[in-house]
Symmetry: C2
Subunit: 460 residues, 2 copies
Amino acid sequence: MTRAVEDWLAARDADTIETLKDFCRIPSVSTDPAYNGDVRRAAQFVVDRLTEAGMPVVETVETDGHPCIFAEWIVDPATPTILIYGHYDVQPPDPLDKWQTPPFEPDIRDDRLYARGASDDKGSLLIPLVVARAYAQVHGAPPLNLKFLIEGEEESGSPHFAPTVAAMKDRLTCDLVVSADGAMWRADLPSITVASRGMLALEATVTGAAKDLHSGRHGGSAPNPVRALARMMASLHDDDGLVAVPGFADAATAPDPAITDAINDVAFDVGGYFDGIGAPRPDPLPDSATLLTRQWLVPTLEFNGISGGYAGKGTKTVIPSEASVKITCRLVAGQDPDAVCEAIRAHLAAVLPTGYAMDLHRHGPGSRAFALDPDLPGLRVAEGILEELLGARPLRVAMGATIPIGSVFDEHLGAGLVFFSFSTADEDYHAPNEFYRLSSLRTGQIAWARLFDRLGGGPS
Amino acid sequence: MTRAVEDWLAARDADTIETLKDFCRIPSVSTDPAYNGDVRRAAQFVVDRLTEAGMPVVETVETDGHPCIFAEWIVDPATPTILIYGHYDVQPPDPLDKWQTPPFEPDIRDDRLYARGASDDKGSLLIPLVVARAYAQVHGAPPLNLKFLIEGEEESGSPHFAPTVAAMKDRLTCDLVVSADGAMWRADLPSITVASRGMLALEATVTGAAKDLHSGRHGGSAPNPVRALARMMASLHDDDGLVAVPGFADAATAPDPAITDAINDVAFDVGGYFDGIGAPRPDPLPDSATLLTRQWLVPTLEFNGISGGYAGKGTKTVIPSEASVKITCRLVAGQDPDAVCEAIRAHLAAVLPTGYAMDLHRHGPGSRAFALDPDLPGLRVAEGILEELLGARPLRVAMGATIPIGSVFDEHLGAGLVFFSFSTADEDYHAPNEFYRLSSLRTGQIAWARLFDRLGGGPS
């Protein structure tokens, strides 16, 4: 029974919201070195919360990038041990002018907390920290052995996380990894994620002349890298938007039939999807299964940003010296990030027009896709709690997005991983006006309290 | 004889350089409203120079944009009248990080003055202002009737210049227009420009979702406007880089045979051209006539800048809400900017994929191509002076770039126009590290002094 813990948490609801606001005030943007000091402050914030929760061991683990935070409370070696994962870094806040309130000045409207990082992942990460503290305050200790490993580079592709896990593997042994990251699919439909796509991040830069040229004087005779890049980009997809790079998906394996079954079971409102993201409905509209399959189970190559030449107001009659495009691929089971990178490199080199130079830069190592063991006991416990609290058996779904750590714990610790996040996919993380439902903050605390209890051997 | 005037100018060489530096310190970027106050200061600078030159009439002519400066000195109604054209606005200075010294802090290195606008067009514009003053100081008046019309929006496509000329046409009557704008083709080969390409400036914006989306969560299912725009852009040219828009060049007329003769007479060093702009040499290398024809006589559609999504350091896993590209076309004789705009609009609308919206914005009215009467007497006078000073008969060449005013004076005043600029095309105008040769400043003053004298009826 977790009654006393739940009461303690409920009584401190206002304090917890204030704590989350404090967390969200720290602009811990990991991808931009300008924020390095803030990322460090966010790490210290996590250290302080773990210390406040009474964890006997709390350590800042330095990496070649931003640090990880490790914490441990072994209450009884005979009791199960869980390792809790999350991240304290956030996405960049651009475009700033699209925010209704400043991204790092948390604002509550309609029981939602608006701030960069509120949903991804500070809100959902704060929950197990608060629940651990509740157990310490109410019962003197948690009902199972707790370990935490919280990273600060998830939004940068986790370049140093796998080496850190590998180096610390003897200290990270556990029976189950529980991730506080990895949002629920929909706010209106309980779900639990059992697979996620992998990731590869690249940046291609095409160079023509050594400097910008006058587009009148040189137009028609000089190389225009924007033109070259656009033609190269156009060769990366077919008319249906599927990746057309030779060899790109050769190693992809067939998806888990349980997920394709789920896709066929859900009557997804495709028209409503396009309305919801504010895009014109394509004609013809894809059917539900096609759309979900492409969102969950088909590898992608998306352009995240493009730049080259004059971007100010008005016109500037230049032929740019260079143009570049940021690319991220989402990979499915079987695809190796290294092999996919080489396939793209070979294709781009083959379509590079004469008279240009190209550089293909890889951002971070990327990660393979992840698929959870469908029979994992911890998964069934988590599903039971969600059903109690949300009123319906959660659907097992795949995730189009990537949890870079998905495959890392499996490889180094041999431990299964359950996603137990209370963020939902509509909360505009990675976009302006990111928000977190305060109702999720409350439900999540009860859920984690019960998860600790059940996994620790309490009544189910 | 202009000996006394030339001596006066030579004695004041250091002062003139200082004046040019003062002019270049004013960041008169016409295309960006942030610089509006500076553009106004540059206009006043021109007023001050004309007043200092003793012009009896000096007026600031307001427009719906930046003002024109008109000045007039009628020494004798029976004497020829020239109208001198130039512009006091400059290109934007971006990319700032490529400048060796700040763009608006003029720096002299190797007898070159480095600053934004030094070559285009402040250096060459200052020359007739200084020469007018020299005549006033030495002889009490210029040797012919002088009018000036100096604009402040040349780098923005001169949106208000034609209406201004139309409105003032009775005051602008003249025997010849002499342009201080319009650079010489090469520093090592005297030339005079007898044709220039017209211009059309557009900006195409493609929108998908109403906001940026998470590229993992939505990748594969949501519209990606960067992908759509790249495919649309790729359809605008053929494999040879020639414009592939239906109807684009339907109205183009055959070029003047005199210019094609000149193209065939000049052994242009094509390999050296690519080396000079710092671009990889294409393989195979085009021949001399092909390259010059495409630079002077073939209409173009160049991408001047592209943007969409994340442009900061590192990666950001978004699907951008929109992407846009800035386009300028250079038009040849016969092409109408309006018709070309509509051809491009129709083509882009036809290739816009389903599920996206597009906006095509036109920056300014654009301008038709210009071709000078080859038998214009003033042209022969200008050629004679250049031959005296530069040691060789100048080649009559076409210009890939646009002098927006090219066709305006012909239409409204019925007057021929001679380009008499002492900028040269290698001076990196429209690029970082723009410079002006101080030797050109000196030669140009002698040339303009003789031009005044000869056109006024002095000994040739």
